[in-house]
């Protein structure tokens, strides 16, 4: 097996999806439920370089911060691997999502049904940057007091954003959330193929 230049013969193609949401909403739990490996933890040093002035609001350390990232892996096929990254839940680290979001297929915004407001910042983040996402409501103790439509209204989500009820501890439930995200991505790809770019949340 001789030379290939920089692209290795057997290295798989890789893609990623972000699992975002407020502090303690179950992001790492969700990653662990669907990942084929126990969630791995790594540290990433992030700088605020290249961020707009608005983005720096509320960040005291403007140079570099170290944050922990959880991630898991799903082998789609011999030549394709999907990585799931849990974003850091602490609000003061949300600016690092910029780096993390780069090159992501899309995101799942997890919501703790008992305190949905902790995930508002995540929804804003993806909406503002036009990054496709679905909203998954983690029932904690399997309880879902609100139907999806009520949650959509409360969060003022546009029609094309799917809202799902889930249990972050259950593999099947988390898989269905990811499938819903892919279906949403496929639907909007079909639509933009047929002329006219989608403008999610646009006027």
């Amino acid at each position: 097996m001789a030379d290939s230049d920089t692209i290795t013969r057997s290295a798989p193609d890789t893609v990623k999806i972000l699992i975002a949401g407020g502090f303690g909403v179950g992001k790492t739990t969700m990653v662990g439920s669907v990942s084929e490996i126990a969630p791995l933890r790594t540290e990433e040093r992030l700088t605020s370089a290249g961020l707009g002035v608005d983005d720096l609001e509320g960040i005291e350390e403007k140079k570099a911060t170290t944050v922990a990232l959880d991630f898991g892996r799903i082998t789609i096929g011999e030549d394709l691997v999907l990585y799931l990254f849990g974003t850091p839940g602490q609000q003061r680290f949300w600016f690092m999502w910029n780096d993390l979001a780069l090159g992501a297929l899309g995101a799942v915004v997890l919501i703790d049904v008992r305190r949905p407001e902790t995930s508002f910042a995540a929804i804003d983040f993806f909406e503002r940057r036009d990054i496709p996402f679905v909203v998954a409501v983690n029932g904690f103790y399997g309880e879902h007091p609100y139907p999806p439509e009520e949650i959509r209204d409360a969060l003022a989500l546009p029609e094309h954003v799917q809202v799902l009820l889930c249990d972050a501890r259950e593999r099947g439930s988390c898989r269905d959330v990811l499938i819903a995200l892919l279906d949403q991505l496929i639907a909007s790809a079909v639509q933009s193929d047929g002329g006219g770019r989608l403008t999610p949340g646009g006027p």
């Binding site: 920089t6 290795t8 290295a11 193609d13 799903i74 394709l80 090159g103």
Partner: protein, 118 residues
């Protein structure tokens, strides 16, 4: 563990790779896959212990984030060493699948089907 005191002596070969453009850290995202070149190029010099540890871990293709987690080192530190190894011709890398506004339908369908099999 170990090797810290010898690091200074062994750093030199990597500092002497002159001429070639230094790879940029931007070449390495969290999901960039790296693979050790086997056999190593004939002009390869003996890597430092830390670099050797990385080479062993990427005998099979592995993503940068996984490598960092397994080595229990910050991603930024691993990336610096991967730059050295790339420059020394000891690894190859594969960038992630490019994602654009108009997403690649084949790819999406493939991921969708894979998830369906879970």
């Amino acid at each position: 563990m170990g090797g810290g005191d010898t690091a200074g002596r062994l750093v030199r070969p990597f500092a002497l790779t002159g001429g070639r453009t230094r790879p940029s850290r931007a070449d390495f995202t969290l999901i960039t896959t790296v693979t050790a070149v086997d056999p190593p190029p004939t002009w390869a010099t003996r890597p430092q212990p830390e670099h050797q540890r990385i080479l062993r871990r990427c005998a099979e293709p592995i993503a940068v984030a996984e490598l960092a987690a397994l080595l229990d080192l910050p991603v930024s530190v691993v990336v610096i060493m991967l730059c050295d190894l790339l420059e020394a011709g000891r690894i190859t890398l594969r960038p992630p699948h490019p994602v654009s506004r108009n997403q690649d339908m084949n790819l999406l369908q493939k991921v969708r089907d894979g998830l369906g099999r879970l």
